[in-house]
């Protein structure tokens, strides 16, 4: 064995990183080579001295723990909030998204002041300004939806009547065969939009 290889094996041996077979080879070399034997002794001694030195623990001052604990920044309330955000990025993003969606929907609800009339049989309906009238004697076959307006029903509606953000007046002569829904709050309006969207998607 070359001495150079033996030296690298010595280090591996001291690092507990030499397979048993090679340990034997190294031992054989050390028995035959005085130079390497001396070197190995020196390395081993250095190793032992380092270990013994590192196992004498120096002692830090008594008040070190106290000083460390005092130097810590005091926890703040807002800090807890920020750490919560840091720890739940997905939740934070989702809630911000929902918040923005909600805000935009609400602003739309406030801005959207135009009269909208929807239905299957709109020829029979009379519109005067912001008032939608179903005259007496007329029969509307199908649903009627009015947004942002007053609705006055004198005749017959063979379907549902939905009034959003407006008023509904039913005369004694009125006859509505379906459901009557009055929606004038942001939340129920939103709910209506959402369900409407889904049913539209479903029937398309």
């Amino acid at each position: 064995m070359e001495c150079k290889l033996a030296v690298s094996m010595m280090h591996d041996y001291l690092d507990d990183d030499l397979p048993e077979l090679q340990q034997r080879e190294l031992k054989e070399h050390l028995l035959s080579c005085t130079g390497c034997r001396a070197k190995f002794k020196e390395l081993e001694q250095t190793d032992m001295l380092m270990f013994s030195l590192m196992h004498q623990t120096p002692v830090a001052s008594e008040d070190l723990v106290g000083r460390i604990m005092n130097s810590l920044p005091k926890p703040k309330k807002e800090r807890a909030f920020i750490t919560w955000i840091k720890r739940h990025p997905a939740l934070t993003a989702a809630s911000v998204f929902i918040f923005v969606m909600l805000m935009s929907s609400v602003t739309f609800w406030n801005q959207d002041r135009q009269l909208v009339v929807r239905g299957t049989d709109l020829d029979q309906v009379v519109i005067k300004g912001d008032t939608v009238i179903v005259p007496s004697g007329k029969i509307i076959s199908g649903d009627l939806t009015v947004e942002n307006g007053k609705t006055q029903v004198y005749g017959e509606v063979n379907g549902n009547v939905t009034v959003i953000d407006g008023s509904l007046y039913q005369a004694s002569t009125a006859h509505i065969s379906g459901q009557v829904k009055s929606i004038d709050q942001a939340v129920s309006w939103l709910w209506y939009k959402v369900t409407n969207m889904f049913s539209e998607v479903a029937y398309r």
Partner: protein, 188 residues
Amino acid sequence: MENLEGRLTKLALKGDQRAFAELVELYKDKIYHLAYRMLNNRHEAEDVVQETFLRVYRNLDRYDDKQKFSTWIYRIGTNLCIDRLRKRRPTYSLDAEMNDQEGIDGYSMIPSDNVTPETELLLSETQSLIYEAIDSLPVKYRSVMILRYLQDLSLQEISDVLDMPVTTIKTRVHRGREFLRKKLGPKL
């Protein structure tokens, strides 16, 4: 079962100061020992311990409990020591190896200046010889050697702490040991 450090860090994160004090109690001596051997100065070592725990406290939320806590805190402590050693030395690079001899560079030319009367009195002759030898080790070898012998860290653990490949650590341990042998050999 979750390990002790993992539980303590979680409690500390929730604002439990006593849990953090427990962590300090567990690791202060180890970090002090590391810093003392690296810097060879009591005051600086205590500063480093304080700074290490401050950093640990600030970054508790980033601690990943799949990782060993000791690895994490040793990394912080070692880096702080290395920073200090870099600042302490003159700006021209001493890390550049001179001559063609392995492990010999600018540091070995600088005489150790950290032997205070107090340490001189307390130490035996052999011990001060080793301290001198360690102190003359280049920083990159010193950190590796101290970590190797400090808590019997394995080569793999040292590579985790220093964030370097195991092969590099191995080479550095070998060179560091060779360096110390050359320094101490004739005197032993």
